[in-house]
Symmetry: D2
Subunit: 144 residues, 4 copies
Amino acid sequence: MGFVCFVVPMPFVYERTVRLADTDAAGVVYFARTLSICHEAYEAALAAAGIDLNALLGANGIVVPISRSEADYKRPLRPGDKLTIAVIPEARSENAFAVRYEVTKLGPPPKLSASVRTEHVCTAPAKRERAPLPPALLAWVKAG
Amino acid sequence: MGFVCFVVPMPFVYERTVRLADTDAAGVVYFARTLSICHEAYEAALAAAGIDLNALLGANGIVVPISRSEADYKRPLRPGDKLTIAVIPEARSENAFAVRYEVTKLGPPPKLSASVRTEHVCTAPAKRERAPLPPALLAWVKAG
Amino acid sequence: MGFVCFVVPMPFVYERTVRLADTDAAGVVYFARTLSICHEAYEAALAAAGIDLNALLGANGIVVPISRSEADYKRPLRPGDKLTIAVIPEARSENAFAVRYEVTKLGPPPKLSASVRTEHVCTAPAKRERAPLPPALLAWVKAG
Amino acid sequence: MGFVCFVVPMPFVYERTVRLADTDAAGVVYFARTLSICHEAYEAALAAAGIDLNALLGANGIVVPISRSEADYKRPLRPGDKLTIAVIPEARSENAFAVRYEVTKLGPPPKLSASVRTEHVCTAPAKRERAPLPPALLAWVKAG
């Protein structure tokens, strides 16, 4: 007799308050801004893992742009709303990964407000071809 | 003997130049900004059809928020790039529709730079339920 | 013989990391975004003082828009830079106040990166005339 | 007898419609976005004068960042409002210039909605010192 132990990694969670600049004249967060908030969370997750975002912006001959995004906007968000954004990376290949984001409005009770997913592809612009993910980024993706 | 004639509606096409504010430190358009540019095109298409955007922001007891977005980012866009955005509405139900956007960078040769799709749902916030699309908006969707 | 004691209020200080969405293709924070970051700090300062921003957006028949802004951009800011923004309100009249912001990039050594000032006027849109500041806001301004 | 002829240069005028993304939950254009709209007009004015913006973003060893901005926000602007932005450059020195912007909401009658001014300084980042304005930019400034 014994235990079977699953190690479930806890996702990185980013905290954010909705600001006036996030909203539009409908009184709620502008849809595309939800994606920006998720990208902030992605940047914070990378920083927490010791990965310098600037190294992914061309500094080492590679860039890791977003090739696709999907978002489901489930509930309107208003100025002052307090959010958490869970950041969950997913391995796809040696050149590519995805990130899922769960945007939750704090309660009580907390409510899932948006589900977002981005796909990222590591590219060597000089060669115009795909490139392997840098080791630190690959490690972060696999730990997700 | 004779002709079979198909009337193919021409989509609304919006022209836009990439501005510095659209870009980020990677030197190209920030991914979420592509969605904002498409929404500008949607607003221009509605205006060209005689539909007042403010009427969809709560003025008549209804709002028509975006419930979902998808975007494929195919080519980087840089400051000064000249774009066309074709706006193609799709009927879905009496309460909902979608809009497809083709973002093309002018050439020669022109190149498809992003494909975007948004889903919109007409809602009566006071009743917390779906509502029929206003007639002018429904007509615009059906003509798409 | 004795002491002369000055009570110097400590300004509210907001912490912020520069994000990719704040920057442009020049690789640094887009100038107007500096003002948005300061407004975030203002919103956080109001929240810390127990003032609901939504109450200043028309909920009580008044709005408190910005009538003027000035900004000196002293040093470029890059993605990942850690900032503090000190928020210092200044009384002007029963209808109006100003807020000064000192944007400092953390070091070592810390460096003043931008100085910003906004002027705010309390207005009753229905009457198209100035209105007295709400008491809680006036108290926050006077404590600055 | 004869005529005295003054040649008064006509300023460059940029046309812009207020979009939802320009606004916030107060229902009007977010203050800092007014500056972005003016910078769009500046970019369009440079392009009309044959000046490539990318050449001012570091391509030739110089950058021309904004060192100061001032803005008076005179009237609220709403989604769908049609604007003109007049762009008036002012010479300051061989290294620096300013640009004034008059943001007018079309009428009838047209109404001045914001007055903005930006100061720009040509800098050689590698040397950390001021640099002369490129000839084409200097010519544009002097013609203003």
